[in-house]
């Protein structure tokens, strides 16, 4: 290997600066880069803008960063499972911007695909309340949703090869590829790093072209396991 992409969690995250905009994978807990987020908490990075589908749940995912007052702004589609985030919003300590889930994904994809934005009719009935620009194409009105990019993306993958090719597991797939596409520095935590060729090129979910740093997860805490309150009770 000329330039190895494999980093310790500390070395991988050290260059993340205060005030950064960070795109975070995950929908609920699956696919959430818990180890990278824990490192961010430990190293004290603050004044963050986080972009994630949801606000996680108290004590999980991005919530410890929110709880510690490290997050100035959250761009998400749903925050209903985190009353701590909602409380901070109501107190004016956390700014939350809400977008329809698929439109949030598309704004980020536009950033990751080198586009300026997308045209959508979703939420058009709300008028300009979401600060959108309107445009007419072939007589139909659309909102312009500008592209969204981040300084850093924090990603969780099931498996990576040394080239940075990623495979996601089941519903831990979710926002991870699109977040990785749209950031200047892409850091991936993964359960397994395999040699080049160990992943069938037809099974790669996200090509290594988008991946800068790989971190092997050292400690699988309970946040990676089954959360009892979301399981059926016997």
């Amino acid at each position: 290997m000329g330039n190895s992409k494999i980093f310790s969690v500390g070395d991988a995250c050290r260059s993340i600066v205060d005030g950064a905009t960070i795109l975070v994978g995950g929908f609920g807990q699956p696919g959430t880069p818990n180890s990278l987020l824990r490192q961010l908490l430990a190293q004290g990075t603050k004044q963050l803008t986080l972009v994630k589908n949801d606000a996680s749940e108290p004590g999980l995912g991005i919530s410890p960063l929110i709880e510690a007052g490290r997050v100035d702004r959250l761009i998400a589609s749903h925050v209903g499972l985190n009353p701590l985030a909602v409380a901070q919003m109501n107190e004016g300590r956390l700014k939350i911007d809400i977008f329809p889930q698929g439109i949030l994904a598309e704004k980020i994809r536009a950033g990751g695909a080198g586009l300026g934005g997308i045209l959508t009719d979703i939420g058009l009935h709300l008028g300009s309340s979401l600060v959108a620009q309107l445009v007419e194409v072939d007589g139909i009105s659309y909102k312009i949703e500008p592209a969204l990019r981040g300084n850093v993306a924090l990603i969780h993958a099931e498996r990576a090869d040394e080239m940075g090719n990623l495979v996601f597991a089941k519903t831990a797939y979710n926002f991870n590829p699109v977040m990785a596409m749209a950031a200047d520095l892409v850091i991936v935590e993964t359960a397994e790093i395999v040699p080049p060729g160990a992943i069938d090129p037809d099974h790669v979910h996200l090509p290594g072209a988008f991946v800068d740093r790989l971190v092997l997860i050292e400690e699988f805490g309970p946040e990676y396991g089954v959360l009892k309150h979301h399981a059926l009770q016997t």
Binding site: L81, G102, I122, G123, S129, Y173, V178, L227, H230
Partner: protein
């Protein structure tokens, strides 16, 4: 039978073989228990599943496999996983045949409000706005009145809309009501419920056929 299950059981009858459906959180999710066995129905979950199965049994949960409400779930043979982009491409391109959603308010023209009570409840939009606006058919499953006793079915919604004129059918603990171009039509009654009770608890004009109404 608890009313939530009665609603879910009735809702399952709206599904035809081969259709793709999406189930919102709450009552809609209970439909999984009433899908006609042997009839192929494809359940889509916003977080990246086509071919979702019943909830995972206790002790058999997979931490990487949840539904859009964060409950551990399963898949049927022939399922596919995909990312959030693909998931909402399926929704917005109109490939969902029926979306079952909850409601805060439904107007007589089919307007749906279910995502925000300004200054009070701000859970966020999630996938609801895209489902309400783009599914081929939207069926609302809800209690007939709010906890306050106020009708949920109204002339005009007072809350910000999820999507305008999107609801085709309303199934409540009291009745099945169809939204038509000529207004609301009472189609079925829950066991033990009278037409007068439904009319009284509905905040918009309700048209009642002269024939006897089926029970559910």
């Amino acid at each position: 039978m608890p009313y939530k299950h009665r609603i879910a059981r009735r809702a399952a009858q709206e599904i035809e073989a081969g259709q793709i459906i999406n189930l919102g959180i709450g009552i809609p999710n209970l439909i999984m228990d009433y899908l006609p066995p042997g009839q192929q129905v494809f359940v889509h979950a916003e977080n990246g599943i086509w071919g979702m199965g019943p909830r995972a049994k206790a002790g058999q949960e997979d931490p990487d496999l949840i539904d859009a409400g964060a409950a551990y779930t399963t898949v049927v043979p022939g399922a596919a996983f995909f990312d959030s982009l693909m998931s909402f491409a399926i929704i917005r391109s109109g490939r969902i045949d029926v979306a079952f959603l909850g409601a805060l308010e439904i107007a007589q023209n089919g307007d749906l409000a279910n995502w925000i009570i300004p200054g009070k409840m701000t859970p966020g939009i999630g996938g609801g706005m895209e489902l309400a606006q783009k599914a081929r058919k939207v069926v609302v499953l809800t209690t007939h009145v709010a906890k306050s006793g106020q009708p949920k079915i109204v002339k005009n919604c007072s809350l910000p809309l999820t999507a305008p004129a999107c609801v085709a059918l309303i199934i409540t603990d009291l009745a099945v009501i169809e939204v038509t171009a000529e207004g609301l039509w009472l189609r079925e009654l829950a066991e033990g419920v009278t037409v007068a009770e439904v009319v009284a608890k509905t905040g918009a004009p309700l048209q009642v056929p002269s024939d006897a109404l089926p029970r559910f």
